[in-house]
Structures are given as C-alpha cells and as structure tokens.
C-alpha cells in the first residue's frame, strides 16, 4: 500500500515528532509514504481569512503537483491541511468559474487532484482487523480519551468523514490496539489554537476544560491527530496546571504513537520521549 504524503509546515517544524511517529508506524506496517515533491503552504494560517482565492489556490497547487507526480491518494495528517485541501476540491467542484480562475492563477490544469486522506482513514484503509492482527503489545492498560478537535470532522459538508458531533472512528482504531477508549464529552470542542497569539489565556481555559473532562471520565491519556491540539494539550499542560491549580499529568499521544506502541516500537523510535508530559510507569509507554 502506497500513498502520497503531504506533511505541511507543522510536521516539518514544531511537530516533527508527529512525522517521526507516522513514518516509524507506516514503515513497520509496510505502507509506503512518498512525500509530494515541491509542496507549499496549505493556506490554513493567514490565507483563508485574508484572501479567498489564495486560500483555494495554495491547496489547489499542492493537489496539482501531487496529481502530476502520479499520486491517486494523498495523506495529509494535519487536519488543518486536509481540510484546506478538501475544501479547495469542494469549492472548485461546485464552481466551474472558480476552477478556471484557479487554474489560471496556479498556471496548471487540475482535475480534482488526488483523494485526500486523514490519518484515521489510512488505518481504516489498512483495515482494523489487520491492524489488530499486527499488534505485538496490546495497550490493555491504556484508557485514552480520543480527541478530534475542530477540523478533523468539520465542516461536515467538506470533510464528509465520521459524525461531526459524535465521532467514533478514532475510538475504533485505539480499541483495535487493545486499549479501552473512554466515553467523554469534549471530543470535538475547541482547544483554543485559533487564539494562540491573540489570547493565550483562552487557550489555557479551553484546553483545561478538555483535560478536566477527559480526566473526569477516567482517561489516563489523550489521543489526537492534530499537531495544534497536541501543542496546546501537551506543551501547555504545565501552564494549565499552574494556572488552575490542578494536576493532570495526562500524556498526550498522536494516534500513530499508540499504533506504534502496540506494534512494539520504542518511545525514541516514535518520538514520544520528546513530549512534554511523560507517561507515568504502568500507564503506557
């Protein structure tokens, strides 16, 4: 099984632990990831609020180069990237005028481009049964709270993936690994990433609610598929604990971390040793 791979800025920068985890996992599972050559910004940060055409043109160009390089399917693990790519496809799909305009701007004709997958869909493609069969080290002590954040399932008309309000797809993956996902209420709430620069206190407040709800429902770790969520819940957990006078010490994993751990990969192979909240003994890796 081979996919095109669109890392986006975060996976090459602040969240390169996520890329390390993805690559280690996919290598073990025998899934080939071919990084799209000459990829550029997905447009998630400034473009989408400043210039609509730019916000479509940037992902459109990425889709075009991926298509030219022969990728029928492309994994974009960062949900902001995958949503931007899907939205560009969605908008050009229903507006031929926009599609022609974008083709002119990016100087490339492009017909839809490759099918864009998020990381959960990659595991669904591999097959949960097959994944379960590959498990060497069942995560039976783990009770993860699966956290989807805002963009993995939203807006539903664009992402067309899982239930936007009550998603279950990540739970199915972690349960296939032997873990017991907890039922909780903040799966799709905002972690505050959009306010990181403007209002850091908002991030602390919102992320605190997420951590508190996960802990209250008996989770001993969180799982996410988003680099931004990971930053807020992991890196800022110490600030949150200080500000609200609580102690969570909840490790925050990428979904691929759990898969890797179940496949027998070590913390240093996955990069989980570089996380801020270190797992407690007996509570996972």
């Amino acid at each position: 099984m081979n996919f095109g791979y669109y890392p986006g800025c975060a996976l090459h920068g602040s969240s390169n632990d996520y890329e390390q985890s993805i690559r280690a996992c996919m290598k073990t599972l025998g899934v080939g990831l071919a990084e799209v050559d000459d990829w550029i910004c997905c447009g998630a940060t400034a473009a989408h609020s400043l210039n609509h055409k730019l916000a479509v043109a940037l992902p459109a160009r990425n889709l075009a180069v991926a298509q030219k390089q022969g990728h029928a399917e492309m994994v974009a693990p960062c949900p902001m990237c995958s949503m931007q790519l899907l939205r560009a496809q969605h908008e050009m799909g229903k507006d031929a005028g926009l599609k022609a305009e974008i083709a002119r701007i990016i100087e490339t004709e492009m017909d839809g481009g490759p099918k864009v997958l998020n990381i959960i869909q990659v595991f669904e493609r591999i097959g949960l049964k097959e994944l379960g069969a590959a498990v060497k080290n069942p995560l039976k002590d783990l009770k993860p709270a699966c956290y989807y954040g805002c963009l993995l399932v939203r807006p539903p008309s664009v992402t067309d993936f899982d239930d936007a309000e009550q998603p279950e797809s990540m739970e199915k993956v972690v349960n296939a690994l032997g873990a017991k996902a907890v039922a909780w209420n903040y799966k799709t709430e905002c972690c505050g990433a959009g306010m990181t620069m403007a209002s850091p206190e908002t991030v602390l407040e919102l992320s605190n609610k997420i951590l508190a709800n996960a802990a209250a429902h008996g989770a001993n770790c969180l799982v996410t598929a988003c680099p931004m969520c990971h930053v807020n819940l992991d890196m800022k957990q110490a600030d949150i604990q200080a500000r609200y006078g609580v102690t969570y010490n909840l490790p925050v994993y990428y979904l691929t971390d759990l898969v890797g751990m179940a496949l027998g990969l070590s913390a240093s192979e996955l990069g989980t040793d570089r996380h801020f909240v270190v797992a407690q003994p007996g509570k996972g890796a």
């Binding site: 539903p156 239930d163 936007a164 309000e165 009550q166 209420n185 903040y186 709800n213 209250a216």
Partner: protein
Amino acid sequence: MSRIGVFVCWCGENIARTVDIAKVVESVAEIPGVRCAMNYKYMCADPGQAMIREKIASEKLDGVVVASCSPHMHMKTFRRAAAAAGLNPYRLEMANIREHCSWVHADKEEATRKASDIIRLAVAKVGYDHALNPIKVPVTRRAMVIGGGVAGIQAALDVAEAGYEVVLVEREPSIGGKMAGLSETFPTLDCSQCILTPRMVEAGQHPRIKLYTYSEVESVEGFIGNFEVTVRKKARYVDIDKCTGCGECSKVCPLKKNLSEFDYGMGMRPAIYMPFPQAVPARPVIDKTQCAKIIRNGCGLCEKKCAPGAINFKDEDQLVKEKVGAIVVATGYKLYSIGKKQESEKITGYGEYGYGKYKDVIDSLQFERIVSASGPTNGEIKRPSDGKTPEKVVFIACVGSRDNAKGLNYCSKICCMYTAKHTMLYKHKVHHGEASVFYMDIRSGGKNYDEFVRRAIEKDGAKYYRGRVSKITEENGKLIVRGADTLAGVPVTIEADMVVLAAAMRPADGIEELAQKLNVGYDENGFLMESHPKLRPVETNTAGVFVCGACQAPKDIPEAVAQASAAASKVMVTFAANELTREPEIAVINEQTCAACYACVRTCPYHAIEKVELRARNGTLIKYAARVNQGLCMGCGTCVSVCPSKSADIEGFTEEEIYSMVEALA
C-alpha cells in the same frame, strides 16, 4: 357574418383614467362583424347588464365581448346576463383592459391603442365561439376520510351528521391520532383525551360511519362524484367482530417488552395489544414482527385464553373496494427525526443534542406521554434514565424548524405554544422544579395564546432565554446544556436533569405516495398543496379531493378542526345536487382523426384520457381512439400540445380561436 356586440366599461376611473373610452369605442365599432359598440361607467352594475341584455335582444347578437376587468372578477356575472337574454353564455368573451392595460400603463395614447387591440382579439375569438353546455356528472353521495386523527374525525362526523355515509380509513389500530396521546391542550389546559375520546366513540358508533382501522389506501380510481378506492385492511390477527375487547390476551402474552408506538418508546406493550385503553375500536392487534406464534409457531397463549375465539393467526391482508363521491385527506404529521438518521440528505439532524444517545433527551411528543395521566409514568414526571423526578428541565424550541442549515426552513407554528404549556405542566407537578426555555422568537398569535405564554413566564416562572443551544453533553447523570442568551449577550450553561426538544412538524410517512395516488400536489416539504392559499384553502387541484389538518401545513388542534369542518362543508356542497355540473371548457378528441398513438394518455397529468375501441353496430372493431373523461379533465391543454394528428382541442380555447386572435393582432 356574425353579429357581435362590444361593451366597453369605464370601471369608474379605473379604466377611463388611462384609456380614452370614446376612441376605443370608435375604433372597435369598425371591426368587421361588430354590430354595435357601447360603453358605460360600470358595466357590471345592473344598468350595464341591462344594456347587454337589451342589445342582445334588439340587435339579435350572436356574440358578445365585454371589455372590462379580469374574467376572474366578472365572467360569471356577464355570462349570466347573456344567458338571461337567451344567448349561450359561452358565446360571451371578456377583454381584460383593466389588469392587462389601464392599471399597468401610464401613457394614455398607448394604453388606448392597446385596449383596442385587446378587444380586437376578443372579437376575433368570439366569432369562432359556439354554444357549449355545462357537463353533468353523476355523484355518489358518500365520502371517504383518510386519516382518523382529530381532523379526520371532525370531518367524518360533520359529513355523517349531514346525512351522508362516510368511510373513515385509519392506518393505526385505533383512531385518535396524535391528539389521543397528548396530555393537556393549550391555551385552556383541558385534558386532551377527555375532549377527544367522546368524539372518537361517536365516530366509532355512528350509524353512517364505516370504520377501517389498521388499513391503508391502496389505490384510487375515478373522478369527482365517482371515485373507487381500494383499501388494504392489514392483517390484524384478531376478528374484531368476535372479540369483546376484554384484554385477557394482552395479559397472558409473555412478550411484554416491546416499545409502545403510542408512548413513542417511553413505555412497553405486549405483542398483542390495544394501543391505549380508550382505543376505538377497543380491539387488540397482533404485531406480526414480534408474535412468537406467527414467527416460529410457538406460544399461542392468547388463542387458548380467548373465550370468543377471536384470534386468527392465519389472518391475511384484505383488499376492499369502496365507491365514494368525495375524499378528504387528513393524514396529519410526524415529528422531525432529531438524531443522525434522516430520510433525506438535505436534512442533517442535530447530533449535538445527543438525542438517541442520552436517554433523558426526549422530544416533545415523548414529553406529552410522560406528563399524561394515561402515560407510562401515570402522569408523574419521571425521567426515562433512572425514574427520578427531574429538578431542572430545559426545553429547546425550533429543533429542525426555521433552520436552513438543517434543512427545514418553515416555522412549525405550534411549538412556541406547546413548549409554554410544557413548562406549565411541569411546574404544576414539580413545584420546586426549574423550567428553562431556549427560543428564537415567541410566536403566539391566536385567541388567548400570548396571554398563555405570559402566564408560563410570569406566573409559573419559566425562564426564557432567547438563543440557541450549541451542545448537550452528559456528566455524572446531569445533562450539560450549553447555549447563548443573546439578549444578555452571555453564554449560558444549565445542568439539567432532562431536556425536551420541540422537533419540527413534518407530514406523516407515505404522504407523497398517497398524494400521487390521489393526484394531489405537494410542496418541497411534502405538505399537500391547497388549490389556493387564501380563497380555496381546503380544495386541491383534483376536483372532489379535499385536505384538512396538519397534512396541509403545521397547525394546532383548533385550526385543524376548523379546517376539517371546512372540508366537510365542501363535501356537502359536492353532494348537494344529484348531478355535478362542471364547466365545459375541457379537452375534446376528434375520434375520427385520432391515430390512437396515446401520447395524450401518457402525458395527461390528471389521467383523464382513456383508450376506447370504436365499434360498428354489428360489433366489428372500426378503430382505436383516445377519449376524454369529462369528469376528470381539468382543461389544461397538455394533450392539445402533444397530439401529432391535431385531434385534441380545448372547448372554448380551440386552436382555431387562438390562431384567429393571433391573426387579428397582425
């Protein structure tokens, strides 16, 4: 040469202000065939009509053109006048020089010219008019009412009381509809069952009402005055004539844990059950999907227990035919399905409210059962999850209604009222409880309606928040309701014990199939279309089929009942004569030139054209042809446009007439 009289009306100032009447009269008088051109200030007034009558007699007119307002206004008036003078009324035409001319133009010179032109067209047409006679259709003075809710019951009783037989068809095992399951009704808080069940019994025992429960309309043939309806009587497995309604069968049935449809899943019922104690008929029915005897030839306890031997496990669906002259559709509504499962892709549901996931998030009809004395909790307010009395209840209005993002753009009209009622009923039973309402607007138009809402707020202390709820989650047995108070501009979080969602009203399941069987239109939401939203509110575009109740639009009980009586009165009007008279301006097919291609049969939207065999006196087949059923044809003209041999035409609007008008303009 024809002898045509033209009568130009001033309509006071309405026409005369913009049209130079004298000039018009002068110019139309010169049209060949025009015998006289007259004018008068109000042609519709008695002296005007007298002038028409007098001229028809004195000038021996064989055609009349009245140039005045729209034929919708006064065609009948003038045709009556013509008939009174001995002229066939269909040889009178109107030229609309008011709505089509004086009202919409400012330039007098041009308007005058246009008025003359319009009259010229009518003169050309009237020259080709010939005498027509109204069509007579026999009428079966017997009605069918489809749907046995409060609207259907009212319509059936009204028609039956007027002396006509009524066939009342109900899909469920009992009549009563949604109203039978309600607790108290706004704005008087009178008990719903107490006011409805006497009407149900009356309908059930009425000598002129034939009741088919657990039955559905299979097909409809025929036309006004002459419908033949096939009704499917679903296998009930209980002989309702032998059964005494003692209820022993339900007591011995071991399969008691089936969700009760009548309680909207809030209570349980056995596999053989009567939907509710006051059911009419008071006869049980066996759910064939649950009965162990029917599924795998087990059990059979009810059969052994039944003293009159009314149980029949070999029962099968039966088709019965009923001849009726008019049909009233009163199939009512269902609630919008709040959860993820939706029948249409354009409706997404409200996953954020956790309906179907959290037991204590219920819809408004489920709440009615919880408050109802006949409900699963005997009227004590207990929440479904653990049977505790909820101390805080949140009511959310407009769930599905007025929400383009979720697919339904209309207002369900009754939710503001019943939500206010719900808060009252709750507070009357749980005095220390707290009732909160999230609403978009309060729409409480109606007699004593707004006073009722104010009472809920001011006397019973319901807390009203103007705003929407974004999400409901469950924590430690509490429902965390997060919403906005847009008047105060703050977010609101309420830790509730129960949440009641006022789901939108939608037409009942199967409405579109039924509408197609009846040839009745429906709108994008499935509500049946009335013939005119203001002036023909219970008629449909198929003659003899009437609508009432919530199948036509969301409405409350008083409105549904009023509409039902209106539909019943329309049925009585239909039955008032031994024969029905219809306008003769319908399609006619020249059977001699008809090539029997049947393009018209296939395209006729009213299924009004049939295939016939033309035979000689000795019985030999001469040819096949198409023939218009005069009872069904609505005169739309579709057949005329598709007929390749030009054999179809519309009386009063023949191709000859239309072309003569076009030529007159050239």
